[in-house]
């Protein structure tokens, strides 16, 4: 990885984080939904 990859890696990391948060909230965060 070099300087040209930073944006793509950041973008894909945020996407992955959003998916992970959504799974975690759906799984553990009952209080959000009831």
């Amino acid at each position: 990885m070099d300087g040209t990859d930073i944006t793509s890696v950041a973008f894909l990391t945020v996407c992955g984080l959003l998916v992970a948060i959504s799974i975690l909230v759906a799984w553990k965060g009952k209080s959000f939904f009831s």
């Binding site: 990885m1 040209t4 990859d5 930073i6 944006t7 793509s8 950041a10 973008f11 894909l12 945020v14 996407c15 959003l18 998916v19 948060i21 959504s22 799974i23 909230v25 759906a26 965060g29 009952k30 959000f32 939904f33 009831s34």
Partner: protein, 497 residues
């Protein structure tokens, strides 16, 4: 069998199943408009995501990435964060509140919350005014798709596509639309996977793609690239807030069965949209490396398609058509609902029977569809202008009152009316006169002006009645303990039906 014949046959076959499934379930008004609040998480995630994403992402989004590189992707993070927060915070509350007051449409939901029948009239009229240009743009997109990729006549393409969308939506209602969206969303997922796999293998992987982009222009691999900062921020904010502000997306929360459906829909919606955004952006970036001299970014997708094998290009073409159809039918369903339920019955004919309203809703959708495909055949610049303005306008017309309405007990009808009436005026005025002077985007400026104004207006005006707040479960905990009156039953309404 040629591409065209196969595409038409497959598209027609896709419509049959959902229509058959919906035929007995759409006989009541609630079944027809909001699927009897019975949709599960998977269908809800797909219908929400397919309705939100049109060919605009796969054609326009890819074009933006072609011109600006990764900066064409990074502003889409606003949309992805918006989807996460919408399903976490907005959808659960809207579902519960809409069920407790029996709301079948967004204008009615807002009118009930703020005890303001005028809000129903104004928002439903504004919805129809701005949704129709959005439908027309989808019809134009379908016409151009058929013309450019299949060699069909534009006029006939628009007419056939319009008739299909009109018949399907009018006959099937929300049940048919939601289940078709699920099928079409699955096709879009297949198309996106093809795009990602083929695109990356074409350029030798992500590392080589970035290296080649950097050789063309270093700005193509920068976070904001050469996109003017006010535009980048504006797009980020608009796309984020639009996820719960568009009038064809909010009723998707009314159709949810229970809180379990929301829990399933949350990760599914986020994952699906991440995949679609990545696929669209990748097409633009790969096209930039492989075909650097295109006259405009909009040609990125057509050129990419031409480079694929017939089977793969067929899958992507079907995915594009699905994206257009799923957005057009949801928009049409919303416009028809607003005409029949909120404008005709709400304003002029309160005594209209449920059967009469159902009949009227079906005919409204069909007539609106006819208007749309007629206007699609005319080259009216006003339509394009209104479409570009619609997403931002809906953030102010629906987004702000909705957020204030479901989270704040103190929010009043005067505050909601301020956003609905002054919002679009501020937005337009800023866009045309003050962006060049201030360097601040029109959406940021409108929010900075309207949010404090709505707070102040809410503080100085008469709050909503206790019974209204109780029905929306917005009573403070201390007061809830002292309330002795029984809660109204499901579907209790303060407004005339």
């Amino acid at each position: 069998m040629g591409h065209t014949t196969l595409l038409v046959i497959v598209s027609l076959l896709l419509l049959v199943g959902p229509l058959w499934y919906a035929r007995r379930r759409s006989t009541t008004l609630s079944g027809y408009l909001i699927a009897d609040r019975s949709l599960g998480g998977v269908v809800s995630a797909f219908t929400y995501s397919s309705a939100a994403v049109s060919a605009g992402l796969f054609l326009g989004g890819a074009g933006f990435a072609y011109v600006y590189g990764w900066a064409g992707a990074t502003y889409q993070l606003g949309a992805l964060v918006g989807i996460l927060l919408t399903w976490m915070l907005i959808a659960p509350r809207v579902r519960k509140m809409a069920a407790s007051v029996g709301a079948l449409s967004t204008p009615r939901f807002l009118a009930e919350r703020f005890e303001c029948p005028a809000l129903r009239t104004i928002t439903s009229a504004l919805t129809v005014i701005f949704v129709l240009p959005m439908v027309i743009v989808q019809f134009r997109g379908a016409g151009l798709l058929f013309q450019n990729f299949l060699g069909l006549d534009y006029t006939w393409s628009v007419i056939i596509f319009g008739l299909l969308v009109g018949f399907f939506t009018a006959l099937g209602g929300n049940f048919a639309v939601s289940y078709l969206d699920t099928i079409q969303g699955s096709i879009m997922i297949m198309g996106s996977i093809v795009c990602v796999v083929v695109g990356l293998s074409d350029v030798g992987g992500l590392y080589h793609l970035n290296a080649q982009l950097a050789r063309v222009d270093m700005d193509l691999v920068r976070f904001m690239g050469e996109v003017p900062r006010p535009i980048w921020w504006n797009l980020l904010v608009i796309f984020g807030l639009a996820q719960f502000s568009n009038p064809h997306l909010i009723p998707r929360f009314f159709s949810l069965r229970d809180h379990r459906a929301v829990r399933w829909a949350l990760p599914l919606s986020v994952s699906i949209n991440c995949l679609w955004v990545c696929a669209a952006v990748l097409i633009g970036l790969v096209a930039r490396v492989k075909y650097p001299g295109l006259a405009s970014g909009d040609e990125a997708m057509p050129v990419f398609l031409q480079s694929l094998s017939p089977v793969m290009s067929f899958v992507i073409l079907l995915a594009l058509l699905s994206a257009i159809f799923s957005t057009a039918d949801s928009l049409l369903l919303t416009a028809g609902t607003n005409v029949a339920h909120d404008i005709v019955r709400g304003m002029f004919w309160p005594g209209l029977s449920e059967r009469g309203e159902l009949w009227l809703a079906k005919w409204s959708m069909f007539v609106l569809c006819g208007i749309c495909f007629t206007l699609s055949l005319l080259d009216l610049p006003l339509i394009t202008l209104m479409n570009s303005f619609a997403m931002g306008a809906f953030v102010l017309i629906f987004g702000l009152p909705l957020v204030f309405g479901i989270f704040s007990r103190r929010a009043t009808k005067e505050a909601a009316l301020t956003a609905v009436i002054a919002g679009p005026i501020i937005y337009l005025g800023w866009k045309y006169w003050l962006v060049p002077v201030t360097g601040i985007g029109e959406m940021m400026a409108s929010l900075l002006i309207l949010i404090p104004t709505m707070i102040v207006v809410s503080m100085v005006t008469e709050p909503n009645s206790a019974s209204c707040l109780e029905r929306f479960e917005l009573t403070s905990r201390r007061k809830m303990r002292t309330v002795s009156a029984p809660l109204p039953s499901d579907g209790a309404s303060a407004l005339p039906r």
